[in-house]
Each structure stands twice: as C-alpha cells, then as structure tokens.
Amino acid sequence: MALEHNEPGGISSPEAAAPADVIMPRDTRILVASQWQLIWWRFRRHKLALFSAFILIVIYLIVLVAEFIAPYDPGDYSARYTYAPPQTLNLFDTRDGQLSFNSYVNDYTVEIDPQALRRTFVIDPETRIPVRFFVRGWSYKLFGLIETDIHLLGPENPRDRIFLLGADSIGRDVFSRMIYGTRVSMTIGLVGVLISLVLGIFLGGISGYFGAWIDNLIQRSIDFLRSLPTIPLWLGLAAALPLSWGPLQIYFAITIILSLIGWTALARVVRGRFLSLRTEDFVMAARLDGASQMRVIFEHMLPAFYSHIIASITLAIPGMILAETALSFLGLGLRPPVVSWGVLLQDAQNIRSVATAPWLLTPAIGVIVSVLALNFLGDGLRDAADPYSH
C-alpha cells in the first residue's frame, strides 16, 4: 500500500491550523489528529480485528495467572480417572423441586471392562461434587512472587476430582493442562519473532537504502537461507543438540536458529519499501537538513512503515505457534513434562483419542482461536496503519 504524501493532512502541513473559534466539523478533526490517533480510528472500523484484540487480551491474561485459573497442577495424575469424560458445571440445583444456587458437577460411576480394556464412566445425576469459586487448592506463587493457594474455581473438598474438560490417558485434568499450555505456547515464539524482527529491519533496511553490492550480498544470502528446506534443518538440529539440555532449552535453541533464517521474509519487504522510499522527497529533505545516513533511515524512513512492522510481528507469532505444534508432531518440539498445546495434541494424535476421547482435542481450539485472532488483528493493524492511503 503506497504512502501518499500529496494529500492534505500530511505530517506537518500548515493548512491544518484552523482558527480557534470555529467549531471543527468532524471530518477536519482528521486534519489535526496525530498519526497514532488516526491509526486507532481506522482500526476501530475493522470489527473483527477489534474483537480479536479483545480475545487476545483475555488469552494473555490467562497466561499471566495460569496457576490461579487451573484447578489442578497439570502433572497431577489419577489412576482411577484415566480417559474420564468431561463433566458439565451446573450452576443451579433443582433437587427436591427447589431451585437453588449451587455450583457442582456430577460424579461418575466407573466400571472396568477387561475385554475392551477400558474404564467406562457414566455420569451419575444423583451425585454432587460441590464446586466453588475462589476456592483453596494447591499452593503456588502468583506472578512468581506471592505465595497463595486460591484458585478461580475448584472442588470444595480438595480431595475431590473435577474434570471440566475430561481427563487424559493417565488421569490428568485436561482443563488445567490446557490453561498451562496456553502460557507456554503463547510465549515460546516471542523471542524468535523479536530476533527475526531486528535482523529483518536492520538488514532489509541497509539492503534497500544503500543498494549496490551490499544489496546484492544480502539478497544472495537471503536466497541461500530461503533455499534451505526447514524440515531437514529441524531434524538435523534437534538431533545435534546436547541431550543434557532441558526440553525448554532445546526448544529455545531451535526457535532462535529458525528465526535466524526467518528474518528473510521481513527483510525482503523492508528492502522493497526502502527502495521505493529512498527516492521520496522527504528523504531528500532530511539529507539536505544534514541528517546522517543512520538518522535518515531510523528516524525518518522507518516510521513510515511502523504499521508494516507491527503487522508483521502480529502475523509472525501464529507461525511460531503452529510451528511448535508441527515440531511436536515430528517429535522434535517440546516434550513432557513441559506442557504446551503441541505436547497436548501429541497425546491426541491417534484414532483411540479421536474415536473414544475427543475431549483430548480441545487444545486445538486454543491453537485455532489464537492463530485466527492474531491473524485478524494483524490484518486490522495493517489496514489501519496506513491512514494516509485514503
């Protein structure tokens, strides 16, 4: 999207000043608004992006207070509840014909079927396991600092087990694990994205601005890096890293290496932009003003497409989230006891789960929602961040 500067309302346009005693019509507010305000107004029009932003705020809140929300420690297993189906949380009790407020779930009756080798769980509507909000449960450190044991919701009696999203193959609560998985999955890619960002802007900018042999060299390097097929690289790296590293460390290492390759996409875009921008008037004006090369690049040209940058980041994160799940599928990503969506989906990747325990697939919903939200948000940002393109 071209940045057009020949329209009224540019960055510093003298015609924008209006007499103070004239009530400004709505349209002319645009003339005096700052760049960021324009972006915000534009962004608001994209309803889907707005909604997505809201969703993402909720998700990152969950990331912050995962321990508070999760009723159980994600590693807590239970022999008696393997593959238990989800229990619905009821808020109103109609026992004895009376309607009362009582949050609870129904317990199961369990039978073991030796022929089919499974436990059959039947929800027993007569039983009640009371569920309370802001209940005491296992203790943890909120934000890593405050020691507490209050959880958003959980069984009134800590020895009871509730499974809002069912249990997995060794009886762990899927709901708790999914909450914890959110934390790892939504944050694991951020470092890599940042590195890609820095490299992309820096190298792409230099390449586009200076042109000539620098451009050539960087372009050829980009070509080279893009020709390397990712899956073989993943496999080779994962195999070569020292085993003594914890799974989280290994994953970090892989994402960092991947981002060292992934900066190429952003670099190409930045380069393209710089190529067209460097002939613009305002650049020449800045040079004439005496600004150094670096200053011109970073203080004048770059702001022209913050929008692109922000949009690129937002669009790169879902790539990382999906890459994490794909790597787990290949056996290269995070592994137990780390809990991430990719790890959880690995447990679900078999016919047994799809056919008889579909609740194990709910982490996929987390992936879908967050990836969609990030994509729409990025689209909205990109649309909005070129306020001058109208």
Binding site: Y77, R80, I112, D113, I170, L243, P336
Partner: protein
C-alpha cells in the same frame, strides 16, 4: 519353549499313498499343458499338515497392512517362513519342513539333512542340495557377500563345513559341538538357507557369471558392484535390508509367489499361489487354500488402524494391536466383521529399566554398580499403581526374568525386590548418598546432584512415557532426580552403541526364548544396554570399546560358551539355570510387570486361525501356525 533334538524318520507313510488334488484356479493351466499335473509338481514325499479346524476351501484373497520400507518382517511372519526346519505351532519342538528328516550325531557336531526328492522351485526347476550349498559356500563363506560368517554357523570360532552327500542330502560338520545349530535354523533370520535358488542367482554372482556380461548388467542397473546387483535380485547380503520381496522374478518355495513386488512407489505388494508348493493337507489337497495375498503399504499406523476397523485387513496384530486401540477395535467388531484372537507374549516384562553399569562417567559408574543402589530404586517403584494407571489393571508385578510357563522359570530372579517400600528405599539410599541439596535431591560424593538421564523411544511403546512419568515421581520421593530423555530410534541406538548413555528403557525380550535370547541375563549382545562395554568383551575382546567385566559376569560368559557346545537339551538347561542364578545375584536390570495377553483382529470368515497365538520375534507369529492352511469360508 523347549527344544528337543529328535532324530525323526520319514514322515507318515500315508503321504506317499495319497492322491493329490489341486486348486481349481490351476486347472486351466494344467489342461493347456502350461503346468505339469499336480503329482509331478509335488515332491515324492510332500510335507503333510493337519489343518487346525477343518479341511479348507480353495479361494479368496488375504489382505494385510504393512508400513513399507524396512518393515519387511511381516513378510517372514506370514508368507516366507519356510526353512530346513521350523517350530511347531506350540513352540515346544522343532519339526522338519523343507527337509523331510534330519539326524544329529552323538557328539553334536555333524548334522545331516535329507531333502525332499522331486521338490521344485516356483518356476519348475528342481530344488536340490546344490541350492543349499550355494547359500553356505558361495554366500555365507564369501567375504564379499558376508564379511564374516555368522556366529550360529560357527563353533569354537570356526565356521562349519557344508557338503553335498547326494542330490538330496546335505551334511554340516563343525569342529566342536554346535548346541544351538538346529534351533537357530528354525529362527526367521535363517529362512534364507532355502530361499536362494542357485540356477537364478548364480547369473549375478561373480564366481559363476561371465565377467563381461555381469559388468554390463551392473552398469545397466546403475549400481556400484556385483554384490549390489546380487542383493537387488533377492540375495541376502549381510547388513542390507532384506530383499526377499523386492524382486518378482526370484523363484521361491513359499506358498505364494510375488507378482507385484515392494518398491519405493508401491502401494500394494501382491502374491499369487505357487503351483509348486511342497505341502499338502491331510487329505492330499495341495496347499495353500488362499489364492492371493495382498499387503497394503501404508506409512502411518493410524491409517492401518482405520483400515482394520473398516474390515480391509483380514488378520493382523502387528502395529495395531496395542492396549490403547483395544477399546476402539472392540466397539467396532460387528461393523467390521472381525473378532479378537489372543496373543500370548513371550516378552518377560512390559519394560526393562537399565542403568548403564559401564558408564563413561566414573562417579556414576561407581554408584550404579552398587547393587544396593539399584535395589533401593526398585523398592521405590509402586508397580501396582503403574499397572493400574498405565496398563488398565492388566499384568502382575515382575522383574526381568523368564516367564512362569517357561521350564527355566527362576523364582528369585522373577520376584525379588518387588515390594513398594519407599521407607526402605530411603534408608538404603541414605547409606549410599546421604547428602541432599536444597530441593531434596541426593548429591554424588563430588557434590553435584545425581541426575539419571533415562533414554526412551516413545514411538515403540506409548505406555513407556506414561509409566516413566510415574517413576520419575516415585524416585523424586526418595531423592533421586530422573530426567526423561525422549528420542528417536537412531539416536537411541547410536548412543547406546557408543556407550554414551546413562540409562535406557527397552522391552523384555527373552521371556520364553531364554537360551536363544539371554540379553538381560548377562551382557550378551548390543541389546544389553546395561553393560555395552562388557558385551563387546564377550563378542570381541579386541574391540577398543571392550572392557573386562567383573568375575561373576565372566563366569556367566564362560557358562554360555559351554552351552553353545552342549548337544543335549538337558545339559543346556542346566547351564542356563546356573547363568540365571548369577543373574539373580547380580540384579543387573529391573522390570515392572509381566505383560498380560494381547490381541489381534481376524475376520470372521477366515478359518483355521488359532484362538491364541504366541508372540515373539524368534517365533515369527503367525507363521508357525501354518498360514497356508487358513481359508475363507462363511
């Protein structure tokens, strides 16, 4: 599993008095003269097999699923299990197969096999002693094909001598008694003895083929040497993936012969009836009953599972018959038209936990080699809970030892240190590693925390990771930090061979086939994870990775070498029991539970399939249950 050396006379005289019938699908070819009549196609004395349930009907196609590539074991397990001798279906005895009878002399070093006169390859050429000798003399003893003669064909370090006494008699002579020779011949790896037709393969063998012609063929095939071409044509060259089903032109003696071979682009491997198959049923009908065999090549296990649910696979337990899938298969029986058969595992344990006793890290080595350390770890495990959680209550706590039904059952080795007693464990560990760090984990004498890196391949058996996570907790309770290291097969294998591993998980081989597979009872092969350096010493003392083991272990090795030279079963069992005694004393590895019986699925209309089938590698199920007698009825 017992192994009795029976000098058998010719099989039932009635075989020679029978009139023979053939499959109707062959009638047209015999009429037109393409094929000789059935009496001429069968040997004078065909092998007679009594079908399990009933005489069968001719016809039908047997559908199976395979993963492709190097998953060729399924071929041996169904179609290609025919050698000089074979196991009987109950795995208690060895019976003649291609050979109609065999004798062993009293000292146990001369073996004579009588072949069946008139037996032919699938292309009509006679099957004679020449074919057997071709394998032994031109392949096994040819260093280009086989870098070193295999251990089963050696005794006292020297390879045996194979001689032809006449067209239908072969004799093997060893310099010292070769106690396990006959048993080894019945294992699936030794099927090649009778699968290498001289008249066909010699065209590609440097010693027989014209030099220029061979060179031309090598160039045309785009390979480097004649051995590569030889291997491509179906010859078994050491260390290469088995090529038995890669070449449709290779003559065979199996019940079915290849029409569409396996290849990189193959999605189906197809075989049709072999009109020269040398086996008949008890009424003289030439086997097999089934007309065609098809292997559907699919890469992924879950795809095979769906195909099985859909009724597209007629009989299978390999790959799909897991504990996890049982519920799904159970639910779908009626719709899929199949039912379960039972598989009886020969495995001694659901998982074997090995600490590397020859650890390159001397500090760890000292700790691991302390038997009390291992005993404590064993007492710290709540086996019943693992059985309940991971194995849905199936199985009983057990160490790594011969199964109860084995004649070599050893109570001490099987039941020692099984009680869940974390207090006792803590007590014992306090005596060895008293210091703990801030998190409660024990420190080694040098002040570092002891971390056991337990390597495991999760794809082999999914239950292992679940169980290991539980064990991680149990050991943490007694102050031991165990880390799960989940890795791919190749990495696991390589680290093991290079003796870089700290600890490893594997299955329990050798629960029934104790003598032939003693890897967990003393450091026998590269599979003895707990003592790689010692097993190198056992197999090749000059290997740079070899280390001399402690005295008790050396004693075991001596006993086993003696066993190899012992001719009779009783003597072998006695020596093996002594080895097991020492194994119980040494307590090299620990186990969790005796595996419960498994299952396989079989279509309702496939008959003569046993309801219960043994499962092992050395007993390549279901082949010893005579698949050539399976048939499709109602």
């Amino acid at each position: 599993m017992l192994c009795a050396f029976i000098a058998l006379l010719s099989l039932s005289v009635s075989a020679q008095d029978m009139t023979y019938q053939q499959a109707p699908s062959l009638d047209a070819q015999v009429e037109s003269g393409e094929l000789p009549p059935v009496e001429e196609r069968l040997p004078a004395n065909p092998r007679v097999v009594e079908p399990l349930e009933s005489i069968g009907q001719y016809g039908g196609t047997w559908n199976m699923g395979t993963r492709g590539g190097t998953d060729d074991a399924i071929y041996t397990r169904t179609v290609a299990y025919h050698s000089l001798v074979r196991w009987n279906p109950e795995w208690t005895d060895i019976i003649p197969d291609v050979a109609e009878s065999f004798e062993v002399n009293d000292e146990g070093n001369v073996f004579t096999f009588h072949l069946r006169e008139g037996m032919k390859w699938s292309d009509g050429e006679p099957f004679t002693a020449d074919d057997i000798l071709f394998y032994f003399n031109d392949m096994l003893l040819n260093p280009e094909v086989y870098p070193a003669p295999p251990t089963w064909f050696q005794s006292a370090g020297e390879p045996g001598v194979a001689e032809k006494l006449d067209d239908y008699t072969v004799q093997f002579t060893f310099s010292a008694p070769n106690g396990l020779f006959i048993q080894n011949l019945a294992t699936p790896q030794q099927q090649h003895v009778v699968q290498q037709p001289k008249h066909y393969l010699s065209q590609f063998h440097a010693a027989y083929a014209d030099e220029d012609e061979l060179a031309a063929m090598v160039a045309e095939a785009g390979v480097e040497s004649w051995v590569d071409l030889f291997s491509q044509k179906g010859a078994f060259v050491a260390g290469r993936p088995d090529t038995l089903w890669l070449n449709a032109e290779l003559p065979t003696i199996n019940p079915w012969m290849l029409v569409d071979p396996m290849s990189p682009s193959a999605t189906q491997v197809r075989l049709v009836r072999n009109p020269y198959f040398y086996v008949v049923d008890s009424e003289g009908n030439q086997l097999p009953y089934i007309d065609e065999v098809i292997y559907n090549v699919g890469a992924e296990v879950e795809t095979l599972v769906l195909q099985a649910l859909n009724g597209e696979i007629d009989m299978q337990d390999r790959h799909i018959g897991t504990n996890a899938n049982r519920a799904v298969f159970f639910d779908n029986q009626e719709a899929g038209g199949y039912h379960f058969y039972e598989t009886v595992p020969s495995s001694s344990n659901v998982m074997t936990i090995s600490l590397n006793l020859t650890n390159p890290d001397p500090a760890k080595r000292e700790i691991y080699q302390n038997k009390d350390f291992r005993i404590a770890l064993s007492h710290a495990i709540d086996r019943q809970e693992i059985i309940d959680v991971v194995y849905v209550g199936q199985g009983t706590p057990y160490q790594v030892a011969p199964r109860p039904q084995s004649p070599l059952y050893h109570e001490q080795l099987a039941t020692q240190y099984l009680e869940y007693d974390p207090d006792l464990a803590n007590q014992m560990l306090d005596a060895i590693l008293p210091d703990k760090d801030g998190d409660g984990f024990r420190l080694m004498p040098n002040g570092e925390r002891l971390v056991i890196a337990m390597e495991v391949i999760p794809t082999l058996q999914p239950e292992w990771t679940g169980a290991l996570e539980l064990i991680q907790d149990y050991w943490a309770d007694v102050g031991i930090d165990m880390q799960l290291v989940v890795e791919d097969r190749t990495i696991f294998y390589d680290r093991k061979l290079a003796n870089q591993h700290d600890g490893g998980i594997w299955g329990g081989d050798g629960g029934l086939e104790v003598i032939l597979e003693p890897r967990w009872y003393f450091p026998f092969s590269a599979e003895s994870i707990y003592g790689e350096a010692w097993q190198h010493w056992f197999n090749n003392p000059n290997d740079e990775r070899a280390e001399e083991p402690p005295e008790a272990t050396r004693q075991q090795m001596d006993l086993y070498n003696q066993l190899r030279s012992t001719a009779d079963a009783e003597g072998q069992n006695e020596l093996m029991t002594q080895i097991l005694d020492i194994a119980a004393e040494q307590f090299y590895v620990m186990g969790i539970a005796l595996p419960a019986n498994g299952y396989g699925i079989v279509k309702n209309n496939l008959h003569n399939v046993p309801a219960s089938i043994l499962q092992a590698y050395l007993y390549p199920s279901p082949a010893p249950t005579n698949p050539e007698t399976y048939y499709y009825g109602e």
